[in-house]
């Protein structure tokens, strides 16, 4: 193969790769409104997943089905994941007043979720059975409200 034809093949390959990426990238873009909606939906889904995980593992702890080390590792992850969702939401400015109300509603739910997971961690640490029961019940209720929120705000 001559150098010229090699160059042509290289240019053709480069164009192919460029087209390949161009095909993929439009899916990412979009106006601020779309970016905000996507962030809200993702934050709500992450909050729901981690609040319900804490609820499940808390309930399993009440039934004596998990070890203390496992419980601690899972709750630690849940609390960090909810905090990350809160941070992501806070970093995305709402494009309008209606969106600001949506953000505030979700922020309240995530704050309550984080607090309830914290309460569960504290109750487990103190060996407070009633406190664990209350925290698990609270997490169940917050999980249901987050699920409603996710239904109302799909991405």
């Amino acid at each position: 193969m001559s150098w010229r034809s090699r160059n042509e093949v290289a240019v053709a390959l480069a164009l192919l790769v460029a087209c390949w990426f161009a095909l993929a990238i439009p899916g990412r873009g979009g106006p601020d409104r779309q970016a905000f909606d996507t962030t809200v939906a993702a934050s709500a889904r992450d909050g729901l997943s981690n609040v319900r995980t804490a609820w499940l593992v808390g309930d399993a702890h009440r039934g004596g089905r998990v070890t203390r080390t496992y419980l601690s590792a899972v709750l630690d992850h849940s609390i960090r994941a909810v905090a990350t969702a809160q941070l992501r939401l806070a970093e995305t400015p709402p494009p309008g007043r209606a969106q600001a109300a949506v953000r505030d509603a979700l922020r309240t739910l995530l704050d309550e979720g984080e607090r309830a997971i914290g309460d569960l961690v504290g109750a487990v640490y103190r060996g407070d059975t009633a406190g664990v029961r209350a925290a698990v019940a609270a997490l169940g209720a917050i999980g249901d409200r987050l699920a409603d929120f996710v239904d109302r705000h799909p991405s």
Binding site: A60, T67, Y70
Partner: protein
């Protein structure tokens, strides 16, 4: 009796060694997001790895040389260098992900943050690779990986809706609220998890280490054709427990601890301990395999002395590569990249390079010069070609789907 025992041990090793961090993450995430509607991908992936592992094993048993060695000879140094670069990069990323899986398993057992365990895991891995004989390191961890069978046992204790699961499995469409691109992204990740490139190179190089010959072909086939599909059932069990517990609650998984929770709920503390042990053994075993694979491929390409059977002093470059690969894995994790995220990246890039891994195997398996009359027959070629087409589709779709869905949302 001795042969039967050896055969059973080989099959059990293949079953226990099937699941790695990629299978674990992809199966549990897919189960939680889509129920059982991606189960078909696992089945397709297992058929694919069986077809290509059989080819790789046959090539090695007849030629008594590792596949990568033959790929370089058959396709020339330039094509093989492209293959080597892609495979080595993905294998080292996989090694990092597996070591992350080990550290996460230890975190679940100790509640000490996984990052503190990463250097310890790296050191332990290097010591085990340095000191243990090949047969021992292959068998101990693969057999311990059988503990993952607790996922299948736990499934029966979670009272699953069997008919509902069958309905999901028989309708390969996205679950409510999910879209086709996300479904496609998880399908590609799940497919790549069954066909991770290091697997065939380790299988073939391990066969050379085990000194396989023509008379071991039937044993190799039994290991592949029984061991891998039963190993695939473990992955299916992981997917089914996630589908049973998490999917109805709409919980998406982003941690290894979550994925184990169904076992704790189904079987209690004993099951939980077995699941953590199984995860530890499966990821540690896979970390050894990926570390060795990385060193095998480079040493075979450059024609260096390689293998665990050779004294380290005689294969100094091979052992140095092994050490460098392990260190790279440790450094990768110490960047604080999330091991689960790293696994997701690894699966996507594995999918991209799959054709580079599997096309040369198909070419070599059809070469009369190496295999004589034991070249691929029409069935193996048909299955191999169909899978190659599927692999190419997955490779082309992987990056656009990753970008378009933001790695599955």
């Amino acid at each position: 009796m001795k042969q039967l025992l050896a055969l059973s041990l080989g099959i059990l090793t293949a079953i226990g060694g099937f699941v790695d961090i990629g299978d674990f993450v992809a199966s549990s995430q897919a189960g939680a997001r889509f129920g059982m509607s991606l189960a078909w991908v696992l089945v397709v992936g297992v058929v694919g790895i069986c077809a290509y592992a059989e080819m790789a094993g046959r090539v090695t048993a007849i030629s008594e040389r590792a596949v990568f060695d033959l790929v370089r000879e058959r396709l020339g140094p330039r094509v093989a260098l492209l293959n080597l670069a892609a495979t080595f990069l993905v294998t080292v990323i996989t090694l990092g992900a597996e070591m992350g899986g080990v550290a996460l398993a230890v975190e679940l057992a100790t509640s000490v943050h996984y990052l503190l365990w990463v250097p310890v895991v790296g050191f332990a891995l290097w010591v085990v690779l340095w000191r243990l004989k090949f047969q021992h390191l292959e068998r101990i961890f693969s057999l311990a990986g059988l503990a993952l069978v607790v996922f299948v046992v736990a499934l029966t204790h979670l009272n699953p809706d069997w008919s509902g699961m069958w309905r999901q499995a028989s309708r390969p469409t996205p679950a409510d609220g999910e879209d086709w691109p996300t479904y496609g992204y998880f399908a590609v990740a799940l497919f790549a998890s069954a066909l991770t490139p290091y697997e065939v190179f380790f299988f073939s190089s391990g066969a050379v280490e085990d000194k396989w010959g023509r008379d071991q072909i039937s044993t190799m086939r039994a290991n592949v054709l029984i061991g891998f599909p039963v190993g695939g059932l473990l992955s299916l069990g992981i997917m089914a427990t996630a589908a049973t517990l998490f999917h109805p609650l709409r919980i998406e998984l982003d941690s290894v601890g979550q994925a184990i929770l169904p076992v704790a709920i189904g079987l209690g503390k004993l099951g939980l301990v077995a699941a953590i042990l199984g995860l530890f053994a499966a990821t540690f075993g896979a970390a050894m395999e990926t570390g060795l694979s990385a060193a095998y491929t480079v040493a075979q390409y450059f024609g260096w002395q390689w293998g665990k059977l050779v004294a380290p002093r005689q294969a100094a470059r091979f052992h140095t590569l092994l050490l460098v690969s392990v260190l790279t894995g440790v450094l990768l994790l110490l960047t604080t990249v999330d091991p689960v995220r790293l696994t997701e990246f690894m699966l996507v890039f594995s999918a991209v390079i799959l054709p580079l891994t599997y096309l040369p195997i198909l070419v070599v398996a059809n070469d009369h010069e190496y295999l004589g009359e034991r070249v691929n027959g029409p069935v193996a070629n048909t299955v191999g070609t169909v899978f190659l087409l599927v692999i190419v589709v997955a490779a082309v779709a992987a990056v656009p789907l990753m970008i378009a869905t933001g790695m599955g949302g």
